[in-house]
Structure formats: C-alpha cells, structure tokens
C-alpha cells in the first residue's frame, strides 16, 4: 500500500480539522508568516552615527530589530513591515528609510 503523503497545511481545510475553539497549540507560529513582503521602505543604519542606545530595538512594534555581535542594531527584513518607527525614534539620526526599489 502506498504511503499517504502528508502535507503541512497552512490552515485547516475542513471544519473537522479545526481545533475546538480555533485554539492554536503551536506557540510562536506567527514566525511562519513572513510579513517582510508588506514593506515599501526599509530601515538602513549609519553605524557612524549610532550610539548603541537600543531605542530602535525597544520601539520596533514587530520585534524584528536585533543587536549584532559588535553592539549595533539591524532589522530582520523577513519580518520588518517598513513602518519607520525606528527611524522616527532614532534621535541621533542613524536610521533612514530607503525605498525598497532602490
């Protein structure tokens, strides 16, 4: 008998496949949804101006800004939606928003 091929589904197809109450048991599965494609602009850091205060990290609503090994910051562009809050909050002016097309 041929082995049934199981396919990982993005969402339940039938009502029977839904968990009771539509509960989601896999924690942190929002990471499967790469929201980076939503952005029209991306943040670019000028580390010459960066004072490593981390305010961009704190304010990022997506939680996609991480500290690098040498203490500077960068955004994970798979999830960055290009909102520009980091650039707005960065008072030394180290972050600028660049068009995606550039």
């Amino acid at each position: 008998m041929a082995k049934k091929k199981t396919v990982q589904k993005k969402w339940p197809e039938t009502w029977q496949e839904l968990n009771p109450g539509c509960m989601v048991f896999a924690a942190g599965n929002a990471a499967n949804y790469k929201t980076g494609s939503w952005k029209s602009q991306r943040p670019v850091w000028d580390n010459a101006k960066c004072i490593k205060c981390g305010i961009c990290y704190i304010f990022c609503p997506e939680g996609c800004i991480q500290e690098t090994k040498d203490g500077f910051y960068e955004a994970n562009l798979d999830y960055c939606k290009g909102c520009g809050i980091c650039a707005h909050e960065c008072w030394p002016g180290a972050i600028v928003m660049r068009e995606e097309e550039e």
Partner: protein, 387 residues
C-alpha cells in the same frame, strides 16, 4: 436524600452554585437577580467556599473577566438579568466560540424601554443565537438542580460550551418555597473538578480567541453549530444521571397530560405550573387539553419536540417575548420552521403574553386554550392587550 428547607429561590440558586466547587464568580447586581449577587458575595467573603469573587464595574466586565478565568482553567460563574445581559451581549458569542464552559443564571426580566423590572423573556431572546446552551426552569427546585447540572453539561469534553439557566425574575427569584438540597458530598461525586481541554499557562503557551479570514470563518461557524447541536445528547445523559442519583427526572421537552390531548399548549419557564393547573381544571370538564414544556431552548430539541406534539390538532405556543417587526414570538417562529416540511402537522397559534410582569393566572391560561376554537388564524396575537 437532601434536607427539605424553606428558602427564597434566588438565595437557593447561589447556595446551589456554592456546592459546585467554583473557582471564580464575577456577578454585578441587578434587579431581580441582586439576591444571587449579594448572597454569592457573602458565601465567598465568609470563606464558606474557596473561590474568588471579582467585584466588576459592569456586566460586560463580569463576563470578560470570566472569559479570562475560564480560559485559564477555572470553573466560573455569573448571574445577571435584562439590561445586564444586554450589556454582556458582545462577549457572549466570543465565550461560546472559544468553547469556554462558563455557567450563568439569568433572572428573566423585560428589557427597557420603557424601564420595567418585571418578568418576561425579552432579555434572553436577543441572546438566542450566541451559541450558549439555554435552559429554562419552572420552579425553585429546578433552579437548584439545573444550576448544578449546568456545570456538568457545559464542561463535558463533548460540549465545552457556556450554559445559561433561566430563572423567571420575581415569579421565581423572590419566592420563598420548599426546596431540597443535595449534600456537598453527593454533588462532589456527581460533579468532579473541571478538567479543561486546554488552558492558558505560561509554561505551555497556546493561543485562544484567534482570528479567522473569509477562507476559515464559515468552517468555524459549522464547527460551533455541530458542537452546540451535539450538546443535546449530553444534556439528556446528564439529566438521566441526575435522575439516578437524586430521583428527580428532567427532559429536554416535557409533557403534562398530553397523551390524548387535541389541544396542546407550549410554555417555557414558570408559566408551566400555572398552565398545568389550568389543564387540570379543563380536564375536569372533559376538555382534551395538555401541556408541552420546552426546557432546552438551545440547542432546540427538534426530534423530542416533534414526538411530544404528535397527534395533537392544535398547538398554542406561548411566547413571553416578541420578535418586533417579525413573524411573532421567537419560540413560535422556530416551531413553525420546524413543522413546515412535515406532512402531518397541527394548526399553530402563537400567543404573546405576560410581558413586563403582566400576571398570567389560571383563568388566563384557560382563556388562551380557548383561542384554539377561533376560526381565523393570525400569525400571532397579543393576549390581554387593551385596545
């Protein structure tokens, strides 16, 4: 068997819940439910049970707080009435969609306006489609029994849905009458602690109350419908376990002297007893009349209802509410839909009566049975309205 005591029914409803090992109660007082709220607070404050009483600022907050408590695994209870239930309205379908087995008593009262604090069913009817299991009680004993059974029904792994027990305001809540309580040990045996299907806990994070796009929402509605319809067999199972343990029998639809009746009347809640007395009086005069009492309003027990009315010529459906601008009372509207496809069906008369505390005496029920002799059939009629 329990001890027979005299007690006000609202107090008794709170005492019954105190036997149920609840974890959290959030009850905002409102006439005619206030004695439940006050007594529940007393019971918890006095340390008679190990539970948390949350003094919320509104009914919306009460049901919201309980949604959180229930999601965390607690056995949760609230009680309300009329405007309070209307204020809960937004949260009610969320609770059922999240499959949270919260239990609630509703002291049925008319909705404003004009402001009216007296009994009818206009508060629960707008909540009809919210996905809650909906039970009606006829007297104080039933208020005790069903309050206890509601937790067992709601928490059953096949159900996991909230449950509201309707106790007619004043007519029942403010009545001192003889009642029997099961013992704490008997209730503990009948109703073990809640075993939640899933619960919010920091060690095991899950998501509840999620978002569904058009490609999933229809499936969620179907799943909820199947769950609620499936609750009927659990209700029946819990009723039969109750009968075995405590000797009092309940049915999702109950009949009284209905066997050879040509005219049946269908009632819900406290109307049942007065109507039964009217049936007795009319039977003495040789009239072939009987009574059908709908205990389970949601899910609607279609098969049991059809069996109960089989053979009758006329069915008088009593509604203590009106679907304003619609086709009569909500109970009759459902019944007509159910009967539409049947080959053999009785003539259905719909009477809207007893609104806003308008009293219904034995004589009134005799008169309403008399409507069956009328030739012309209105879609519905008001009983006793002054013209």
């Amino acid at each position: 068997m329990g001890k027979r005591v005299g007690m006000e029914v609202a107090i008794a409803a709170a005492e019954a819940v105190a036997l149920c090992n609840i974890d959290v109660a959030a009850v905002y007082p409102i006439t005619p439910q206030s004695h439940i709220a006050e007594h529940m607070a007393d019971i918890i404050h006095d340390g008679r049970i190990d539970a948390e009483f949350i003094t919320v600022e509104s009914e919306h907050s009460a049901i919201s707080a309980l949604a959180g408590a229930s999601a965390a695994g607690a056995r949760a209870y609230t009680a309300t009435s009329s405007q309070g239930l209307m204020l809960m309205h937004e949260i009610l379908p969320i609770v059922s969609a999240m499959r949270l087995p919260i239990c609630m008593a509703n002291a049925n009262r008319a909705v404003s306006g004009p402001l009216n604090i007296w009994n009818d069913h206009t508060d629960i009817m707008p909540q009809r489609d919210s996905g809650w299991i909906c039970l009606f009680t006829e007297n104080g004993q039933e208020a005790i029994d069903l309050s206890i059974m509601s937790f067992k029904i709601a928490e059953d792994p096949e159900v996991m849905l909230p449950c509201v027990v309707n106790i007619d305001g004043f007519q029942l809540t403010h009545m001192i009458e003889p009642l029997e309580f099961p013992s704490q040990a008997e209730v503990a045996k009948f109703l073990p602690p809640r075993k939640p299907f899933a619960q919010l806990h920091p060690d095991n994070p899950i998501s509840m109350g999620c978002f569904a796009m058009p490609d999933t929402y229809t499936e969620t509605v179907k799943a909820k419908e199947v769950a609620l319809q499936g609750a009927k067999k659990v209700v029946i199972r819990v009723f039969s376990e109750w009968a075995k343990r405590f000797g009092r029998k309940y049915g999702v639809v109950e009949t009284y002297r209905a066997k050879d009746a040509e005219t049946l009347m269908l009632t819900m809640g406290s109307m049942g007893e007065t109507a039964a007395t009217a049936v007795d009086e009319m039977r003495k005069k040789g009239k072939k009349v009987g009574l059908v009492k709908l205990r389970l309003w949601r899910p609607f027990p279609v098969e049991e209802f059809k069996a109960a009315i089989a053979g009758c010529k006329t069915l008088v459906v009593m509604d203590r509410a009106l679907s304003t601008g619609g086709a009569g009372g909500p109970v009759a509207t459902d019944i007509k839909s159910i009967l539409y496809g049947e080959k053999k069906k009785p003539r259905v008369l719909n009477v809207v009566a007893g609104l806003g505390g308008r009293d219904l005496t034995v004589g009134d029920f005799v008169n309403m049975f008399g409507l069956a002799n009328k030739k012309k059939n209105e879609i519905f009629e008001f009983y006793g309205v002054r013209e």
